[in-house]
Symmetry: C2
Subunit: 334 residues, 2 copies
């Protein structure tokens, strides 16, 4: 752990103590963070719990725009990692950040970034416990490692699905993909409010943490949608050695996406294969559908039934009788 | 967790399944890694243990040379993180890696890098449990998060030192700093074997894991030397609100460093403030010196007594009666 590297570098620039000012306060709720002042954090695991660990790396110009607001970059960094925890049915607890910062990054940027982390901590319920900050001649590169917990043997995996299980997805699909297109100058005839909503879905996705917790003991397999509905459904099917038949009419679309598809401004196949939605895609055996309905009643996010799993390992999306054809099965970052 | 990103990118280049071939085997000893195929790893904590977490980021051209052998880059990445665990008295157990790879990186590089990870796992005893791989237009940027464990309430910290405690350091100081200089073309009149040893100390430092474990219950404070003996002693003193009087004659130097200092090819102050040694620097109350001698008897690494801690918060290095003067208190990466 080398927060002091940043400290020294910024000190030479005549800056004051950024760690003390911006990052240590984010660690104050966890005594085991040792106020980010020691070589590592010392954390206890709650009785009967397993620790769930994931790491995601975001690079400016690949996963976000270099001039995106620092708060939204921080929120996205937290969200993409906590989405992985959510898909395991885990509750976020702690995280570390490693930041490779271009020399052009100055204190106001750090302050706004830390503000985004604070907002994310408050929304998603986790505490900063360590990190490292280094200089780079390349693009801003941020790596977050998230630690969560799940009761032993209750983690949700990709591999538990069985043929005959029903397939569900949370929220709506394609908004983040369209948001990226809006940021690239497309869809200018959408209303401003709609454009802003799509951009927000791209910049600050919502990890479906409460849904992940609710699916413990109910879902047979879960994956979060980062690479796109088509690709991530294929991942779930590969891991569970099943196939899927999806009714593309049932895939939940926001009004904005529906109007873009209906006016042929965007292809349905692009919507279904676009990435970055961070919704949960999951399977449930028919016998547990009642349990699902019960836990969803008070849930904050809508869940849609989009198809079912098959013995054949083909993953098919049908529009009426037509089989949709996808040029690509994985999401390409811009 | 997005190993699949690499998978897809390399697949497009006509490469075969690198994850399956090179990384999944590194995860096989930990069932909770889910073979790197799920969204996160699910790990259990041993009874009575705390989890110790640290993150360090290495950037090509800052922390290592871009043309360093991939195996040594992997070993250094593991070592600098496990050194942080060692300084807490923790045993390494798991790690994740996030790699931002320039597009020039090809399969043989990945293969050699994975070979280095395998060697490190075998030497240091930890298992890969997750990661992320992304493309970058910038330099190779590697972030490792290491997870270790330590019995509850036995973690060693920087803040436990008291005035009157004796100060010790493991191994020898300045070799890594000189190794960096050798790589930059200096010290050409050293024998080839000596140059190679110094380079190895820079490229593949040895985390003092066994020593860290042995110091549990004995050392009052511990820090690993990454920023240099002077800077890291200052960190320990700051955290413990004490000062130090160090006898520079007692600081352990290898024969190579001693000859470079004696022939004025390198200043002693540079040796003492150079970084990257990853030795452990620690304090012990006089009453526990006997316990230290007992645990060190069979230890693999030499430990030297270099001074003691004081009430005054000054950190002084003395060469006989002369107070050494340092231009800088922290290590500057090249």
């Amino acid at each position: 752990m080398r927060w002091l590297t940043l400290l020294c570098e910024m000190a030479m620039k005549g800056e004051f103590d950024l760690i003390e000012t911006y990052f240590a306060p984010l660690a104050s709720a966890e005594p085991g963070s040792l106020s980010l002042k020691d070589d590592a954090a010392v954390l206890s695991t709650n009785q009967g719990m397993s620790t769930v660990v994931t790491t995601d790396c975001l690079v400016a110009g690949v996963h976000f725009f270099p001039d995106d607001p620092p708060e939204t970059i921080a929120l996205k960094l937290l969200a993409v990692n906590f989405s992985d925890l959510a898909s395991m049915g885990a509750m976020p607890r702690h995280y570390t950040i490693a930041a490779a910062l271009p020399r052009s990054v100055e204190e106001p940027w750090v302050a706004q970034f830390a503000k985004g982390l604070r907002e994310g901590q408050s929304r998603f319920g986790a505490v900063l416990v360590g990190g490292d900050t280094v200089s780079t001649d390349g693009p801003l590169t941020l790596t977050l490692t998230a630690l969560g917990e799940v009761p032993k043997s209750e983690a949700l995996m990709r591999s538990g699905a069985r043929s005959g299980d029903e397939v569900f997805v949370s929220g709506s699909i394609g908004d983040a993909f369209a948001g990226l297109k809006v940021l690239s100058g497309q869809f200018q005839d959408l209303r401003r409010k709609e454009r802003e909503t799509l951009i927000a879905r791209y910049r600050t996705p919502t990890p479906r943490i409460a849904l992940g917790l609710a699916l413990r003991g109910i879902a047979s397999a879960v994956v979060d949608i980062s690479d796109g509905l088509v690709a991530d459904l294929s991942h779930l099917c590969d891991a569970s050695r099943v196939g899927a038949k999806i009714d593309s009419d049932k895939v939940p679309l926001s009004d904005s996406i529906r109007s873009l598809v209906e006016s042929s401004q965007i292809a349905l196949s692009d919507v279904l294969s676009g990435g970055d939605d961070y919704e949960l895609l999951f399977s449930i055996s028919s016998s547990k559908i009642n349990s699902l309905e019960k836990v969803l009643k008070d849930g904050e996010v809508k869940v849609s039934h989009i198809g079912s799993l098959t013995k054949s390992t083909d993953v098919e999306f049908r529009d009426g009788n037509d089989l949709l054809d996808f040029d690509r099965t994985g999401y390409q970052h811009f």
